[in-house]
Symmetry: C2
Subunit: 137 residues, 2 copies
DNA sequence: CTATGTGCAAATCCTTTGCATCAAC
DNA sequence: GTTGATGCAAAGGATTTGCACATAG
């Protein structure tokens, strides 16, 4: 993998922590400030390259665009149903009985993807429980 | 919601258990045997209607088409990385420390979506561990 | 110079939608 | 005869890809 200014800028942005788990599109918009000619395709290509070689992590969500995470330690995520913000959840807080699952299903388990849904602190304040925006898709 | 033959056929197929967690497309192909003129749009519309009113469940997967499940009891899923087959996993086998997660993240937790990945019994036999088909997307 | 990366646009996949027609009540 | 459901085809969003050109080593 050769060096490229664009790839460096993408990684810099991810590590800047200003946005915690940006989608490719958010990365694109922000990196465009430094590289006005960069294309969305290049952003996708580089995010996938970096994810494939373990430099960053790809967070796949059901019915939503993938997010990218500079935190490569194993952990799970919780996503706000109202604003889409994502927060990390330590892997110690979820316990999966792999042995029983393998026994009961006959599957061998390789990985788990866990995404919790809820309301972030800001949206909890903003929304009365009654008029929560219904985000189901 | 009025009665419709097509919707009945879709529900019948889901409950037939021949295919455990079919995608909309698989439902479409099979219901087409009884209703050759049915359209994919109608299948989607009816699956979503039935899921919205709780008759069936929609299983959203990362990077894969939604699946539909006649089992509406709370449970999780494990998907075979090689063939895509899905099996149910009882919710007792996964333990989520919601209290700690809420304390640490500040989020309120509403729901959890858990999809495990592994190899189903048939694919475990077929594949030597070395030449597993690499299915990552 | 040769391999790799880029920008652009077109293509892909899954899903939803607008609209005229048809079936249910 | 209204209202809701259907079929079709077109549109939608997220992501990937083919290709000619540019850049890194």
């Amino acid at each position: 993998m050769n060096y490229s200014r664009q790839r460096e800028a993408i990684l810099d942005f991810l590590r800047s922590m200003k946005v915690k788990h940006p989608s490719a599109d958010v990365v694109y918009v922000n990196v465009k400030k430094r590289f006005p000619n960069i294309s969305l395709g290049t952003v996708y290509r580089n995010l996938n390259l970096l994810a494939d070689n373990g430099t960053i992590a790809k967070v796949k969500l059901p019915s939503d665009a993938d997010r990218f995470d500079h935190n490569t330690e194993p952990h799970f995520h919780i996503i706000c149903e109202n604003c889409g913000q994502i927060e990390d959840v330590g892997s110690a807080l979820v316990n999966i009985d792999v042995v029983s699952i393998e026994k009961l299903s006959g599957f061998s388990v390789n990985a788990g993807r866990i995404v919790l849904k809820g309301l972030c602190p800001a949206c909890r304040k903003k929304l009365s429980p009654i008029k929560r925006k219904d985000n189901k898709k």
